[in-house]
């Protein structure tokens, strides 16, 4: 039986069949990545490269936000699912890998706990003041 990765590779059209390596800092001159927009921008640059398998070197990246990681992960998986690109993160700091791992585990938001809170209302301004002063 053919492996999915092999199937994806064989079915990827009009791209070069060698692995291409690129550093994030070749595209973004930064060492921390914060917004979803930047994740989408980075992916769009990778999509334009004429290679199927692209190793993206995160070695100079100190920090990625959860939003960046989530957006990058989602678009990376979409590219894989559509057999467009196989994007591989390499040389990432352990914290960068951990953030990618965290978002990959939490793609289904329906499993989260829900804590109820009691709404406190105050009869007088004085009681609100006293309450807040106690915090």
């Amino acid at each position: 039986m053919i492996k999915l990765s092999t199937f994806n590779y064989l079915c990827a059209p009009k791209v070069m069949d060698c692995t291409h390596k690129i550093s994030v800092t070749d595209i973004l001159s930064k060492n921390s990545l914060v917004t979803r927009e930047v994740a989408s921008f980075l992916i769009s640059k990778l999509k334009n490269l004429p290679y199927y398998t692209i190793e993206v070197d995160f070695s100079n990246i100190d920090f990625i936000s959860r939003s960046f990681a989530d957006q990058f992960h989602k678009e990376k998986v979409d590219l894989w699912d559509s057999r467009t690109k196989n994007i591989i993160v390499i040389n990432a700091h352990v914290d960068v890998y951990s953030m990618f791992k965290a978002v990959s585990k939490t793609q289904n938001s329906s499993n989260r706990d829900y804590h109820s809170y009691t709404l406190i209302q105050f009869q007088t301004r004085r009681s609100l003041k006293d309450y807040l002063q106690s915090i």
Binding site: S32, T35, E37, R66, K74, K101, S109, H115, T118, I135
Partner: protein, 296 residues
Amino acid sequence: MILPIPNRTPNEIGTTIYKLIQLSQIVNNSQDEEIIVDFTNTDFLHCIFISGLFCLIKTWRANGKTVKVIMGDSPISSYFSTIQFENGFDIVRDPELINSLPEYNSKRYTPLVVFPLTGNTREYCVSTVLDVIHNQTNIKGTFKMAVDYMVSELTNNIADHSEAGFGVIFAQTYVNKGYIDISIVDNGIGVFNSYQKSEVFNPKDEAEAIAMAVNGRSTKDLPESRGFGISTSKAIIVKALGGIFLMWSGQTIFIETRESPNILKVDEGASYKGCFLSLRLPLNSQNNFNLYDFIG
């Protein structure tokens, strides 16, 4: 109308927020078109009060009020000039200002940074503010990661949900008292309206909307991991760092400490248009936790 600015504000978050509630009530219950904010007799104002008042003034001005700020010979006039209280360190109006943010590296506070919510400038702005905070505080390791995580997520939240024209971030380190205070603020549509517009959830009131927000219920109808920004930041602040997380939107305040979480109704005309977030991060709890226990 002359707004009664206190001579001093205390360090306690609750008391400081009550002072802001009072000012909001006074202005909202008044028909006066001109508001005079007189700091002449003011000795000391806590950064939470400053960031809150700064954004209240922006809202009042947006609503057509004329607000005049008088500093006189106040001892805080030099500080107010440095943090740019009058108009903010406005990167929306002048993106080149970002390049002068590192001038604050040797201080204990940032200016009142007014940042854009779209485009790459926000990315660069938030990263630069974080760099300034790192340089000011010399924080390292997990604590530094936590600060970066919270500031990036909470500023992203404003961009995603507030429909505001800008966000505001202000940070000050109180070394002797042992904490960093960070305010992240917008004067957009507020938490309740954001949920109402989303059609994903249908909270019956502000309190339920804020409960949804702090529980990580995202207004984004997307099959991805949304809604973690506030809930995980709150967990890191309170459970990992032993700090305080406060959110004020509309007439409702959520405040959580290690002792208890509470949602409070603020009546009598006081309201905050948009969302005011205040984070108190104790410095003495650095690095004793695994960040990914709280976000994964």
